[in-house]
Amino acid sequence: MRKLTAFIAGIIFGIGLLAAGMANPAKVLAFLDLSGAWDPSLAFVMVAAIGVAFLPFSWARFQRSSLLGAPMQLPGKRELDRRLIGGSLLFGIGWGIAGICPGPAVAILLTGRWQVLLFVLAMLAGMLLFALLQRRTAARESSS
């Protein structure tokens, strides 16, 4: 059952990205271009998404398990650190270069554009590099 809800939620998420215009990199860049001809549409996407999700998340974050009996795994960490900010700044630079973030990259991958395939491969390479660096740090810490 949880597999089914995950799959359905994924489809709704993808349809939402396409409908919102979030999956159109040129439109994302027009939103990020404050000093050009600014297209504020994507701010409306965020507001609507948070507006709908606020109550369910307010309920979920105080539960121990989901409605289908899965453990509630919402992050509980609240402290800020350099990794969070530094990583987010790097992500923002990448987002500003091409106007593509991870969700839309997946949502338009099957529309048959080489540009998206290249972006996704480079993104996965970045994620793999992170995983490798993490493993090395963990190995060094456990050996010292």
Binding site: F13, D39, S41, A48, S58, P75, I97, L110, F119
Partner: protein
């Protein structure tokens, strides 16, 4: 001076799409107990861990969304103007940045803000700020 691009401004589809994104994130949290953060889901598929089946199915739903969409209607416009070098650099930065920063537009921007996480607020301000600055530099300083 800020000027709004009224011609390309699409508030209604943005609100509708955003609401669907919020709905999908809510279903995933309330039913599966998980955060619909696409970079985190992608990253977790690159290493062994729990719940990979559900996570993969959520991503599969996003991946298939344009295919399902096309059964009923024409896909909305998807315009990518970046060249291969920009796409490669952007993808790599998005990949490594979202992993170090523990999230992207969906995990921090939608889910994190919906559960009032101070970390997600800091991350969202960081990547939005970096995105605004990057587009300004590339379009108005460099590209001018």
């Amino acid at each position: 001076m800020m000027s709004i691009d009224w011609y390309n401004f699409t508030p209604w589809s943005a609100l509708l799409g955003g609401a669907l994104i919020g709905l999908a994130a809510s279903v995933f949290a309330v039913m599966n107990g998980r955060v619909a953060g696409i970079s985190g889901l992608l990253g977790s598929l690159l290493a062994p861990g729990e719940g990979r089946g559900e996570k993969a199915l959520f991503l599969l739903g996003i991946l298939l969304a344009p295919v399902l969409w096309q059964l009923f209607s024409r896909l909305p416009e998807i315009q990518i103007n970046s060249g291969w070098l920009a796409l490669t650099v952007a993808g790599f930065l998005v990949g490594i940045g979202t992993r170090y920063g523990s999230g992207c537009t969906s995990g921090h921007g939608v889910c994190g803000l919906s559960r009032l996480s101070p970390r997600s607020l800091a991350a969202t301000l960081s990547f939005m700020g970096a995105g605004f600055v990057t587009v300004f530099v590339l379009r108005h300083l460099w590209g001018a």
